[in-house]
């Protein structure tokens, strides 16, 4: 009988010890906020466009961390959904068309002749990418524009266009091999055949 009591007491002592250690650790090494939100926020494209229905990328990140669907971000498109699916270990799903379609990268452009300088777009821009003052012509800092569309609606004279960003030499990139039937530009080492031809000729 005493054996049983000793065992129970020993286990109790161990439980109390480890419980105390765990409790201390949970207080001492407490993580502020949800680190998952930061990770999700890092994946989202930060256009701050609100197409997901949340007022910005971080609120959506918080919503995703809270269990919302991952397919509500049209600017991010498939790649963002894939990255989110990978991070959260869920199945990737197609983009929810309800929140808009994935368009190519675009930037706002103000037709400066028509701008009346009302500053409404400046107030709407989530990233302060529009320069201007009251009754002065406004313009968009192209490098800072996220293409969120939020400045288009407030404009009383409809002088803001969303212009698709064209491919330039500086941001051009190679396609994945095999993604196009024949890409004659990909020339490296094609003279392998020439060698065999030479050998045949020889």
């Amino acid at each position: 009988m005493s054996v049983v009591i000793i065992a129970v007491l020993a286990l109790l002592a161990l439980a109390i010890t480890f419980g105390a250690i765990l409790g201390f650790a949970s207080v001492r090494f407490k993580v502020e906020g949800n680190p998952l939100v930061d990770q999700i926020d890092g994946i989202l494209p930060q256009t701050q466009c609100g197409q997901c229905g949340y007022p910005g990328c971080r609120p959506y990140a918080e919503a995703i961390a809270g269990g919302d669907a991952i397919n509500k971000c049209p600017p991010g498109g498939e790649s963002t959904i894939a990255a989110l699916a990978d991070l959260l270990d869920v199945d990737p799903m197609p983009l929810d068309e309800e929140h808009g379609v994935s368009q190519g990268k675009r930037v706002a452009f103000i037709r400066e002749d028509e701008c009346i300088g009302c500053t409404k777009c400046i107030q709407a821009c989530p990233v302060d990418a529009i320069l201007g003052a009251a009754k002065q012509m406004h313009t968009v800092i192209v490098d800072e524009c996220t293409g969120c569309d939020l400045c288009v609606d407030p404009c009383p004279v409809d002088c803001i266009d969303m212009i698709p960003v064209g491919q330039t030499i500086r941001d051009w990139s190679w396609d994945k091999p095999g993604s196009k039937p024949i890409d004659s530009r990909q020339i490296i080492a094609t003279d392998l055949q020439a060698e065999s031809n030479d050998q045949e000729a020889a």
């Binding site: 989202l44 989530p126 491919q167 030499i169 990139s173 190679w174 020339i187």
Partner: protein
């Protein structure tokens, strides 16, 4: 003999160099148009400094370098700038980029140059400056600005300056021909660069498949410290890191540049360009380009002006467009196919390769990797091409990066040896692009996030600031108000004191009214209090009289008022005593309100009757029918009036049975007092409002209206009182001495009030004669009070009293 090392891997593709070395370098001539891309180098694009329509001479700068990593662009011949526009440039994408277009005039007129006979006279910074101004970028293929390369960032000591003459890629012979024909320029350029860097040794690494060039270089370098090192032919020995390995046995660590290990590599073409820039002051306006391939009839090397269209050059070499399947820029290993030949030659164009289908057939379809490992054996960078391939294919770029993807030099050796025809290098290029794009996007989104968060915090801050300001303003306003109130309190305004007193009294009376059966003790204490106060006021009056003070009048008024109050209090006490005894005796207490209500109803009904009568009269004149219609209503109203009157009679008789005089004059008196107090208060408030905020019209008018209303009420109450007194007279013809005394008090009260009003009027007239409204009002009040006094006197006379000193006579 110098020891040479070997590097890992490498291949031996067919060289095909002999085709283009058969003839000497030819001049490509001056084409009609030259297209000068602003970005022919690594770094910031140059910025045009010419205007459209401007004439430029050969060697004149047309675009300047902006920022440290940039090189300028010069006019390759004389002519006119006709456009600065986007034009196709040599790039695998086939996209356009901004170019300066010059229409040549054929004169080939040089601008003024600053030649230098002896470079040793120049300081190294002068030389570097001239190299930079000459627009020299690495001619080997990458196009890195030479001036920057010659000035290592940390001023590392360069032990070995290596001239890269390996030219390992098949077909290309531009450097070979340059060395054969202009070896002295190459050696001269190397000496100039050595004078800047002061290396311990100067080496020229050249593959053993160029015997003529080796001989020419050795000849040119005979009396110098320069050592021409012949290395075995193996692709890619011309790679910078590979050549350094071969010549010095050193390896450039990952993520470092050769300068970090004390080695520097320059291309032979660059060396010749440096020589010309220093010796003759000529900027980089032309280069030697190999035109070769089975689709050209006369392959060879051409001294070509930068900006010459490739089609022009190809024509000179006898290009057969029908035979050609593809035109490549660069060699077969690392070059890329061009989508058009309407593209300018740039500083890095070392070769144009017009190949036939037989020569460069379409690539074989990709087959599965068989894990043979040949790519790993061939890789000169000692990477694991298979692993990189898997990761690239699965888009696991992070893992590919971990396998040192960015150490790949894209030499193509792995693709060349792959038995499954897998375009491995294309996968690596794709992966590198993806990683770079992702990084750029990440940077951009981080910046966007930062800006967004900054904006949010800014907005919040602004909000808070606004809130704080608002609060501060509110506090300041409250403080100012408090200060004003304190000031007003400090300066005891007699008028205000009167108002306050009136308010106090009104409150007291209200309390009394709300508790009609107030405790007798309370009433007693009130009497006592009133007595005390009267005594106090009288004392101060005496003092004031003694001091001849201005306050005497006012104090006298106050004394009178206090006396009134005392009397009132005493009366209330007596009343209460009587009422309590009454209720004890009868047990029934008919509320006087009933009578009052009835009277009110009668009055209303009488009004109605009058109105109806009027209406009927009017109707009789105009519309008899309507009069007939109205007649029943009048009858009804009259009937109701009679009914009400009889009810009142019953009620009065009821009350007389209870020994309670119908409409109790005392109660009415209380009402009159109350109304008077209220009026006084209102008037005080109005005066105050006029003084303090004359601009506040709304307030003033409101108060004026209130005063008028109170006046009306007061008159009504007074009328009711006189009525009641008259009514009471027949009911009780023999007026008791007590009642006579009441009337007497009334007269006194009215007189007091009259004198007070007159005092106020006098004061107003002397103090603010311009305030006509006030004076008029006070005058009216005085008149009314006079009337009231007269009325009171009449009542008293009727009651049988004797007026001692009638006011009307005074």
């Amino acid at each position: 003999m110098r020891q040479i090392w070997d590097f890992h891997g490498g291949i031996h593709p067919p060289e095909n160099k002999h085709q283009s070395t058969r003839q000497a370098i030819k001049n490509a001539g001056i084409p009609q148009y030259l297209f000068l891309p602003l970005s022919q180098h690594i770094g910031q694009p140059a910025v045009p400094v010419v205007e459209i329509g401007q004439r430029v001479r050969k060697g004149e700068m047309v675009a300047e370098a902006i920022g440290p990593v940039s090189v300028p662009v010069h006019a390759p011949t004389s002519g006119t700038v006709i456009a600065i526009e986007d034009h196709q440039v040599p790039h695998p994408s086939g996209l356009t980029d901004s170019c300066i277009v010059i229409e040549t005039d054929g004169l080939d007129e040089w601008t003024e140059l600053t030649p230098c006979e002896d470079y040793e006279e120049l300081s190294s910074s002068d030389i570097l400056h001239r190299v930079r101004q000459a627009g020299i970028a690495g001619l080997g293929g990458a196009g890195f600005p030479t001036a920057i390369k010659l000035h290592p960032p940390r001023n590392d000591k360069v032990n070995a300056l290596i001239l890269n003459a390996a030219e390992c890629e098949p077909y290309i012979t531009a450097d070979d021909m340059l060395m054969r024909e202009r070896a002295s320029e190459v050696i001269g350029g190397l000496e100039i660069m050595a004078s800047i860097l002061q290396p311990e040794e100067c080496l020229i690494g050249i593959e053993d498949n160029k015997p003529e060039a080796i001989a020419a270089l050795r000849e040119a370098a005979r009396e110098t410290q320069i050592e021409v090192v012949v290395i075995p032919t193996k692709y890619p020995s011309g790679g910078e890191k590979q050549l350094i390995r071969i010549l010095t046995g050193l390896e450039v660590p990952q993520g470092h540049i050769p300068a970090d290990i004390g080695v520097m590599c320059q291309n032979v073409g660059t060396s010749a360009a440096v020589y010309r820039a220093i010796r003759y002051g000529e900027p980089l306006i032309s280069r030697i380009t190999t035109v070769t391939g089975d689709a050209v009839a006369h392959p060879g090397n051409f001294d070509t002006l930068i900006g010459t269209r490739m089609s022009h050059l190809l024509t000179q070499a006898g290009f057969n467009a029908d035979k050609a399947s593809r035109v490549l820029m660069g060699g077969p290993m690392m070059g890329f196919a061009l989508l058009s030949t309407d593209i300018p030659i740039v500083k890095t164009t070392n070769c144009l390769l017009a190949a036939t289908d037989l020569e460069f057939p379409q690539p074989q379809p990709e087959q599965p990797c068989i894990r043979c490992g040949m790519c790993a054996e061939a890789c000169p960078a000692e990477l694991l091409p298979q692993q990189l391939f898997w990761f690239a294919k699965a888009q696991e770029f992070e893992k590919a990066e971990m396998y040192n993807l960015f150490d790949c030099i894209e030499c193509g050796a792995c693709s060349y040896v792959c038995p499954s025809s897998i375009p491995l290098v294309q996968y690596y290029r794709y992966s590198k692009n993806q990683v770079r794009t992702t990084k750029l996007e990440q940077e951009k989104s981080d910046k966007a996030r930062e800006r967004f968060e900054f904006r949010q915090s800014r907005l919040q801050r602004e909000q808070e600031e606004k809130e704080a300001k608002r609060k501060a303003r509110a506090e300041a306003a409250a403080k100012a108000q408090a200060a004003r109130a304190a000031e007003a309190e400090a300066a005891v305004d007699p008028k205000k004191a009167a108002v306050a007193e009136a308010v106090k009294r009104a409150q007291a009376k209200r309390e009394q009214a709300s508790a009609p059966l107030a405790d007798l003790t309370e009433l007693e204490s009130n009497v006592q209090k009133a007595k005390d106060k009267l005594a106090k006021v009288e004392a101060s009056l005496q003092q004031a009289e003694a001091d001849q003070s201005d306050m005497t009048d006012k104090l006298r008024n106050a004394v009178a008022k206090n006396r009134d109050r005392l009397e009132f209090a005493e009366k209330a006490l007596a009343d209460a005593r009587k009422q309590s005894s009454d209720s004890d005796n009868t047990g029934t207490n008919t509320p006087p309100q009933d009578t009052e209500q009835l009277q009110r109803s009668i009055k209303r009904q009488e009004d109605k009757v009058a109105t109806l009568k009027n209406a009927i009269e009017e109707a009789l004149k105009s519309d008899p029918d309507r009069a007939a219609q109205l007649q029943p209503s009048l009858d009804k109203s009259l009937a109701k009036l009679a009914e009400l009157k009889s009810a009142l009679g019953t009620n009065s008789s009821d009350q007389s049975e209870n020994n309670t005089p119908a409409p109790d004059p005392e109660q009415l008196q209380v009402q009159v007092d109350k109304a008077r107090d209220k009026l006084l208060m209102m008037q005080g408030m109005l005066d105050e409002a006029r003084q303090e905020s004359p601009s506040d019209d709304a307030k003033v008018t409101k108060l004026t209206r209130a005063v008028e209303k109170n006046q009306e009420r007061l008159t009504a109450a007074e009328k009711a009182l006189t009525d009641a007194q008259q009514q009471a007279t027949p009911v009780a013809p023999k007026i008791s001495a007590e009642e006579l005394e009441t009337l007497r008090t009334n007269i006194d009260k009215a007189r007091d009030k009259l004198s007070m009003m007159q005092g106020m009027l006098d004061e107003a007239q002397t103090e603010s004669p311009e305030d006509e409204a006030k004076i008029a009002k006070l005058t009216r009040a005085v008149e009314k009070n006079l009337e009231r006094v007269n009325a009171a006197e009449t009542a008293y006379q009727e009651a049988g009293g004797e007026i001692r000193d009638p006011v009307s006579q005074s």
